[in-house]
Symmetry: C2
Subunit: 423 residues, 2 copies
């Protein structure tokens, strides 16, 4: 007997018909003899509708109340799914994050799981029932307040439960067939990846690939939970995210796993910073103190004549206002000349564990971009990733050029659907 944790996203349970379809898949898994725990997101657009209701009531909803509001969505989907499974003659019990023992810190809106005590889930499984668990939510340790885990939170719930229950696999059902070598909406010839390491998947997620959240993959790696990303709309095998590749896979391991892209960042350039020790550090301190995470940094070589330098960095565009306000307030102290803000940038990342041992990867990347006439504004690298910032206009062309240059194009087309709520 195998213990499977399955997670279904909002697009897989968008309406009564979808819920009944998913229920059939779950009932079949249970009837095949497996123990099944299901983590479910809110139905389709429920979350957006609740956010809109909050907006109608107040421009500044308190985060504690916002979390209570949003978690109503999963209560609805989880109870309906349990009903639909029961209607097929398979026992099913639904559990809130609290009932499932998902304990978090107290940061409303993006809480982190600090413990999972799934006693009631284990009991339900022992009684032969399927356990349905509300994704995206938990409860604080001492005050029993409801929290939400932020974007991709349901994936994290699923992996955390899989770890706590020592599950054999965590299946993430979504509306695409798995993880692709690039976004198929931009690169129609993108291939589905059969297997990928946690490390590479983390770089993909951090670089803008939306199919799995970064936290979820971090959690899976820490606890060694195999994650199978697959479509709830087909019976196909998807992408297995795992610790190590099989012996045979290593032999055939491609140098490059895929090309990720990200349009959600912006670039701030601080112009005319006095080139004296501590000034650059002070800029990043000011930004960090305002609660903003910086991604890439470039400091130009100082012009000796002026003793001034320019510093550019990227950050989530949603934090742009906070960061520029903090820097403006610190201008007298830091003594920079001016500041530029650009939210029309795009980031392309090439990811692959194989690039560790294969020199020449970056040369090939830059020559592909150059041949396509694309200007590079910033560069950053890790052992298994190279990222470049381009103008947003050129990002799609850049992704296609790089995807081709590294022979990632598939010979056969795959039917894929994109969408989903990201919970």
């Amino acid at each position: 007997m195998v213990l499977i944790v399955q997670k279904y996203g909002g697009s897989s349970v968008a309406d009564a018909a979808s819920i009944k379809r998913v229920a059939k898949r779950i009932a079949a898994a249970r009837r095949a003899g497996d123990e099944v725990v299901v983590v479910v997101s809110a139905m389709g657009d429920t979350t957006d509708e609740l956010i809109e209701l909050a907006r109608q009531v107040t421009p500044l909803p308190p985060s504690r109340e916002m979390d209570i509001l949003l978690t109503a969505g999963e209560r609805i989907s989880m109870s309906l799914l349990a009903m639909a499974i029961a209607n097929l003659g398979v026992a099913a019990h639904s559990f809130t994050g609290q009932q499932a023992g998902v304990i978090t810190d107290t940061v409303h809106g993006k809480a982190r799981i600090i413990d999972v005590t799934p006693g009631r889930i284990r009991e339900a499984l022992d009684s032969g029932a399927v356990a349905i668990v509300a994704g995206f939510q938990g409860v604080t340790q001492y005050t029993n307040d409801v929290t939400t885990l932020g974007r991709g939170g349901s994936d994290t719930t699923a992996v955390a439960l899989a770890a706590a229950l020592d599950a054999d696999v965590c299946e993430i059902y979504t509306d695409v067939d798995g993880v692709f070598t690039a976004d198929p909406r931009i690169v129609p010839t993108a291939r589905r990846i059969d297997r990928i390491t946690y490390e590479e998947m983390m770089e993909m997620a951090a670089s803008g690939a939306k199919v799995l959240g970064l936290r979820c993959v971090e959690y899976a790696r820490r606890y060694g939970v195999p994650v199978h990303v697959r479509s709830s709309f087909s019976g196909r095998e998807g992408t297995l995210v795992t610790d190590e590749l099989e012996e045979e896979d290593i032999v055939e391991e491609p140098i490059i796993s895929g090309v990720a892209h990200d349009r959600s960042e912006a670039k701030i350039t601080v112009v005319g910073v006095p080139d004296v020790p501590g000034k650059a550090a002070r800029i990043f301190e000011v930004v960090a103190t305002s609660g903003v995470n910086i991604d890439m940094i470039v400091q130009n070589v100082s012009a000796a004549a002026t003793g001034l330098t320019d510093i550019s960095f990227t950050l989530p565009a949603t934090d742009g206002q906070v960061a520029t306000a903090a820097l403006t307030a610190a201008q007298p102290e830091i003594g920079y000349a001016s500041m530029q803000y650009d939210d029309t940038i795009g980031k392309l990342s090439l990811i692959g564990a194989g690039m560790r041992s294969h020199p020449g990867v970056s040369a090939k990347l830059f020559s592909a971009l150059s041949r396509a006439g694309i200007n590079i504004e910033m560069i950053s690298t890790s052992e298994i990733r190279i990222s470049v910032v381009t103008s947003a206009d050129h990002l799609d062309d850049a992704v296609r050029a790089v995807h081709s240059a590294f022979d990632l194009d598939s010979s056969e087309g795959e039917a894929v659907v994109y969408g989903g709520t990201g919970r």
Copy 2:
């Protein structure tokens, strides 16, 4: 400083605009220096929409899952209301039934409150905040499963919290101006009742008056909680339900409080029952064992020649199928000839504590009905109530005739609106 528990029904929080309107009323009460606890129902039609979703998924939703589904409605309304109050600069925290300490038995769908431990509510009040509590829901004592309290459950939540917090008054806000001498849709000249005793209010509720639930009034009487029923759409005083009337009220106490009516019952007549000891008792045992509550009973005088008698009783029409099936199964054992089922009946009830000491009330009632040409099928009485069953067709005429005969008509008209979800 006074502690007020306010309860708002679904029609009072039907949309964002209504929520903001109610928030202003609550903020004003808090600013006036009172401690305020608010119990809130689900928004407008939310409950009906959730029930419809469940119906689309399965014809027989398990009651545990149904309770989880339905309680999502109050999570949405309570968090939105807390946000709207916070937006007016008044601190507000929302609490689920569980967080508010509403402990119930395990009967899903119509659980009974067995304890209320409002420690977190008390803390919120001590911190100066308004506490918003989800109505209609509780949690089981040992398993922490979510339960709902059934029809009128939010009123019961409000009264139970008022009792546990030793509140000065429990205000039930609804879409009518209070309790009326009859349903104003049937009797346009019906008067609002200023004060009414728990006892009379219980008879009104049990006889079909929908403005307050029976359980809620029972609870209020047991703990001596004064209940003020009033409209959330006006600033007028409503009806005070209280332990005893004031000295001056007793002097002017009217004989009759009001006329209630009920269309929700049906009548079963068991024809040709052998008139031997134990047969009638057996009929009621069979019905009781099927879980059905009987209201009124009439046994005809036995026809000596045949040794057979007829027995009629009324019951909720929703239980008609269960009861007739149970009786049909028991026909060989009981040996009755046939059974008749009639769901086109109506029940009129005249209620008033004054009728205890005023003879002639029943004579006046029967003569009024007789003058109006209305046939009486069954009669039952208590110390402060007389109920009669008529045909459903004649019920409205009967209510108007009795209302007039007891001088309950108002000289001035009152603007009232009916509706609401009954939660």
